[in-house]
């Protein structure tokens, strides 16, 4: 495998795994939200907000994937680079933090947000606290994204 291909595996993992995490998380919240809305259709807006929270991991993953694609030259004006396999592995490693943490934190953030739907069912005025709980989980996805971005910026593609 050429280095470029290995780098693109990294992009695929970042988008794919973090996306799976978000899909599961958003799915969990959607299920409990739909249950609540059968009883009280006016809660749609509030529950949609909660459902959006675990969706960010997928975006972070896409972002990491996009950065890799841009550096490698799959998209954008620059010509596609031919990478050494060591450079390719560097890209693959850089994608790992957001891929793994995105997968797991998306699921757990979904569980917290799903529980927050129950909170909103009984006390709609406490929506904010439910959001804060969910965001405590997201912190680690943000940190993983940061690690991925710093790693990506640190890779020297010309050398």
């Amino acid at each position: 495998m050429t280095g470029t291909e290995i780098a693109l595996i990294g992009a695929a993992l970042a988008v794919g795994l973090a996306g799976i995490g978000s899909a599961i998380g958003v799915g969990i919240v959607g299920q409990s939200a739909a249950g609540l809305v059968t009883e009280d259709p006016d809660k749609f807006g509030q529950t949609l907000l909660l459902q959006a929270l675990p969706g960010t991991q997928g975006i972070y993953g896409l972002l990491a994937g996009f950065l890799i694609m841009q550096e490698v030259g799959v998209i954008g004006d620059a010509p596609m680079l031919v990478l050494e396999s060591a450079q390719g592995y560097a890209f693959l490693m850089a994608s790992i933090p957001i891929a793994i943490v995105g997968l797991v934190s998306g699921i757990y953030q979904g569980r917290v947000s799903g529980a927050a739907v129950g909170l909103v069912a009984k006390r709609p005025e406490e929506l904010g606290k439910g959001i804060v709980y969910a965001v405590m989980v997201e912190t680690y996805a943000v940190l993983a994204l940061l690690a991925t971005i710093l790693l990506l910026f640190g890779i020297d593609v010309n050398g």
């Binding site: 749609f44 907000l49 972002l63 943000v142 710093l150």
Partner: protein
Amino acid sequence: MPIIEMKKVFLLGHRQERDKIFNLLHNLGSVEMVDVKSGEAWDEFQALLEPDQPPENISQIDTTRSDIRYCLDFFQRYFPVKKTFIQQFTGGKLELSEDQFTEYIESLHRADEIYGSCRQVEDKLARIRNEITQANNLIAELEPWESLDLPLELVKDGSYAVMGLYTVPRDNALELQESLAENVSNYYLKEVTFDNEFMYFFYAGLSEERAAQADVFKENAVTEVNFSQLSGSPAENIASLHKQLDDLEEERASILREIESLLEHRPMLMACYDYIDNEYKKHDAVSNLARTENSFLLEGWVPAPVLKDLENTVDEKTETAVLTSRDPGEKENVPVLLHNRGPAEAYEVVTKLFSTPQRREVDPTPFMAPFFFIFFGICLGDAGYGILLGLLAVYFTRQLRIGESGKQLLKLLLLGGISSIIFGILFGGYFGDLIKLPPLWFDPLDQPMQMLYYCFAIGLVHIYFGMGVQAYRNIKAGKPLSALFDQGFWFIFLNGLILLLLPGFETAAQWIAIGGGAGLVLTQGRSQSGLVLKFLSGLLSLYNITGYLSDVLSYSRLLALGLATGVIAVAINSMGEMVGGGVVGTVILSIILLGGHSFNIIISALSSYVHTSRLQYVEFFGKFFEGGGKPFKPFGKSASYVDVIKPEEG
């Protein structure tokens, strides 16, 4: 002082004026009533006073209230008032002018009659629902027999012969036929139909052989099906039941039209509900009072700035009432009302989301406000998004009628928009790279490490500021040594460690860190008993350095979120560029740009808001703020359904 001072008031008046005074207080909405019986002085009062009871007609009012509520819920069930997406957050109440509201209230007496009609209609609907279920059940029972061409009234026992309709589990069907052939000499059995579970059959036999037949049937779990109340063939019955169902559906539709004709009363009922609900609360509040034969005593909290107004109003409008006030006592549970001036006011909503401060605590809102402003801007960090966000906030403030905290939230978003315009210009973000302008300061995408250091630096300032506020609280509480030990030594120790990282300061930094650390080791165990324990828990306290480290690292999210907004915006733009030119290309391009950037604004603004809040709650408030105060809830008007618009408001 952002926390408003409260005064305890006592109002003594003649019973005859009680309702008048209640109306007065209700309209002012500036007094939070307290149950006189819960006060410290009640033990002394008890000899002179007795608890007041709500007036007798309160149960009447409660009934009317729940009747109206029933009607409104009933309407909502069949003809829901749909709320738009935005109204779901803002409440979306019915807007009425004052005249209209009064007019509606005057027809309150009609509520009874409407309630009667609603009840009647609901009973009819319940009956129809019942009949529909019954008809459907009967159809389901009859369906297997549809091919039996025999009037059901003929299926009955005669003097010599017995006959009936039966079902038998499929597995037993064969055995049943064999067993019958063995034990019963004369009989006639006709299979009508099979389904997955049962065989359905008609059976006729002789009366004298009934006992033998019954035994065989019992052995094979045969069940008799009884249609004795029906006449005509099963197929005829099914047809007539279907017709009955059609009739019932029609009747249901006509009843729904009946409900629709009642719907015109809905606005009136909504107004009446709000009116009667307030009446109920007024009557119910009487149970907070104490009374003698001819007078009553009311106890409550009033914000000090409006006390004068209250005194004047009571003086002017009543003849007998006397109002006295005093400062709150040491142990009293005083409600807390926040009041911040200027831009800081917008951030009250962030504080309240966490917790209302305690009475003697400082309100963290003004301290947090500038940091919230800056952090939000760094996270969103795009001038174009900032302009749009600000414009949206202004538009919604003008368009929507919303409560106090909704307005604060919009103001917070407007300020967030302004902040992100500033940081967008500094970092060169204008819808990502749609408009290519050089950054005024530097581009975090090019120099992420530099940006990361700035994030840590501003985080450190934030944390030190929180520690400073706590030190100030300690000093004010008469514990200057606590301020020195718990905040001062940490400040020295942390700064020493940071200086160690900088070249050229090594020796000085070393001694500063050692000095601070030694101070901590010597003082942090001071609440323990025994020298060894004191020293050990002092030493252990150094472990808290990990807490400070993770606090500072947490601010890296500012960089990450800022980059995320920017990179997603760039991604949207480059997706747009991939589309070819021409008319179709331009249309697709605008759809991608419009949809993509709208999506990014919403998601990024939400992340910016929640992550900025988290930095305040966990990293900042954790240093000095406890919360847990009781918010001030004055006795006053409340509305569930309607918004009465005063003429001067437009």
